[in-house]
Symmetry: C2
Subunit: 394 residues, 2 copies
């Protein structure tokens, strides 16, 4: 007997990161390869109490099937925060709760992408989005990221090709750590205005700012035909799989239809536990703790890079989030560096899977959220040594 | 600005049931339209304690990102139960945890169905599967269900057309309540052997048997190229969204790739809470309580049908599950009956959405799991009266 898989499965990249994580399970390896929030910061006690209380007090409803759109009070909580902090004109009705923000990417692909449609991606771009969209067989157009956002000329050319979708992580991007400046946000919105292009802004890291000034989402400047995604994974805990997407009615109704076919609805229990925790605790106080921790760890990584990396290697300057992005001189291969590094018991993600053109990359993603400063320093020392040897030996 | 949705969204039926549920939210309506487990039976206390304990004791892991395949001890628990009760040769590795068994349907569609591929469905068939598969634009071939399973001649003809997939709910089917006899299970397996057709057996209700003898899944007779789906929604609670699919390595690896792109993984918290509850409680004792309750309610519905329904209306004989299926004389329209019934404050789901050929149906689905016997009797009395008036007035 043989199995004939659907054609779309030939275009989906295997998760490179999953393969790498297998290599890095050796506890003697210092890994900057993951993308995990620091579990020391999970509010276990308050969440345990919220979970107990929700099931004990609201069991009949908390444990039952529920609406595809999500738990109304949680949707209202999210909408209120957008209104109060970002001045966005959104109500609970505009919010669709998703099973992690990854699901929002799958639903967008289902609802918008016909095979051959053009999707504009940042370069480098978020791997999870590349995986989700690839199932629906788009053609990608890559727009390079610069220090303060996308290359506007390249974006203008890409938008002129009448793409279906432009997907962007505007703050503390995964993988680069880069953030769109306010000027770039306005400029991108101007380029989008008057086009039918759906703009999908993914903002899971926006709250994790440890330097600089708070910014409005790009969505604020061009809400028409736009989606704004968020997540509790980085500010509460990923294990609940609670994300959301803000969308206008036409688009939202289609997303709801697709979601119903995908998993009926997101866990009622998880939605209510997160909501109860938000009511009974101070989210901003909790976020301040996370930012404090990640800011220290990021600084440790930057200091160590200055001390141990070869001069030719550049590093992005992140003001928040979980990642830095290093670039070796042109022609270097971060895959080859990986092979050397893993022997020296330090790991990272080579840049390759973050490019939709499948290039051989001289870049690497470094995660700092899930290691203590001393560990970061030691890992960067090992990595710097590997870089020096690799670059010298070319 | 205008929105161009993907072509696939034109083929997905809107959820008819959702529309009906809106009409039935009036508390004076007795509704047999839902498909909800009885919340009185949810084990709230033990689940609340399991949730508290899991987060308090295992927070760092329970709240973190985890593997796409699922929580290993839960996968082992499911495999062990199949080995012990059904003699299936499966291990933890063969199990993929899904976000409800609805997600397994979506993943199957993603992995197997190219536009235009043939999918064999039972007639009537499960609406959630029709919705999930329709996103991937198959051609459906319908095989009529009889009292003891599918019409074998029709199935043989359908399989001769080299379909990609045959999807079946073999025990206490939604919507019909019908169950494949052991003879039919063996006969279907014989028809499938030697073909490349993927057989997908969905068994969310199998444990809810209140009459007759326990049966092995059809999967046991033809495990090659087959999938077996299960769910904790009907035996624990739907609010966790924990289902699973048993699959051989080739197929499972593709499903895992598709799941990673869909939602990364199913809630770590929910998986661990359900597992903890399974360890600390007696599942079979709990299932016995559910069966006892549903058996009583089913009997109330059958007794009331005998007393109040017109003689020409037939009812399936369910030995478990949550549904009965009524058939009016040919030419009757259950949609027209619905309009009459809702005025008399009783609701059901007209058969139409359960047929892939979009026919005008003379059938209706009646749910008995979520109402007390007295309520069932009163609702059936109202419905019987409507049927008599409708049939007499034709």
């Amino acid at each position: 007997m043989s199995l004939n898989f659907a054609k779309r499965m030939q275009t989906v990249p295997r998760s490179f990161i999953r393969e790498i994580l297998k290599v890095t399970q050796d506890p003697s390896v210092i890994s900057f390869a993951g993308g995990l929030p620091n579990p020391r910061l999970f509010p276990c006690g308050p969440l345990a109490e919220a979970a107990r209380a929700v099931i004990a007090d609201e069991g009949a409803e908390a444990l039952q099937y529920s609406t595809t759109e999500g738990h109304p009070p949680l949707r209202e909580w999210i909408a209120a925060r957008y209104r109060e902090r970002d001045g966005l004109n959104v109500t609970a009705d505009d919010i669709l709760i998703t099973t992690g923000s990854q699901q929002a990417l799958d639903l967008m692909g289902k609802v918008l992408i016909d095979p051959g449609d053009t999707v504009v991606m940042e370069s480098p771009g978020y791997l999870g989005a590349i995986q989700a969209f690839s199932i629906f067989e788009p053609n990608y157009v890559a727009v390079p990221l610069t220090e303060d956002g996308p290359d506007l000329d390249a974006l203008e050319r890409a938008l002129a090709g009448n793409p279906k979708l432009f997907y962007a992580v505007t703050s503390f991007q995964n993988p680069s750590g880069l953030t769109y400046s306010d000027e770039k946000r306005r400029a991108v919105a101007e380029l989008l205005k008057g086009t039918d292009v759906v703009f999908a802004e993914d903002n899971p890291y926006g709250d994790l700012r440890f330097a600089g000034e708070r910014q409005s989402p790009l969505f604020a400047y061009r809400p028409e035909n736009s989606l704004l995604m968020g997540s509790f994974s980085k500010i509460a805990a990923p294990g609940f799989r609670i994300g959301w997407v803000v969308a206008e009615p036409d688009l939202r109704h289609k997303l709801v239809t697709a979601k119903q076919a995908s998993d009926l609805h997101t866990s009622t229990v998880c939605q209510r536990v997160v909501h109860r925790w938000l009511l009974d605790n101070d989210l901003d106080e909790h976020i301040a703790k996370i930012c404090d921790c990640y800011g220290t760890q990021c600084q440790a990584m930057r200091d160590a890079a200055k001390e141990f990396f070869p001069e030719e290697v550049t590093l992005t300057r992140a003001e928040g989030g979980m990642f830095l992005w290093a670039e070796m001189p042109e022609g270097c291969s971060s895959m080859k560096l990986f092979d050397l590094a893993i022997k020296e018991k330090v790991a990272f993600v080579p840049g390759n899977p973050f490019y939709v053109d499948g290039r051989e990359a001289n870049t690497l993603r470094l995660n700092y959220s899930n290691a203590a400063p001393e560990t970061i320093t030691e890992g960067m020392k090992r990595l710097g040594q590997c870089m020096k040897e690799y670059i010298a030996g070319r």
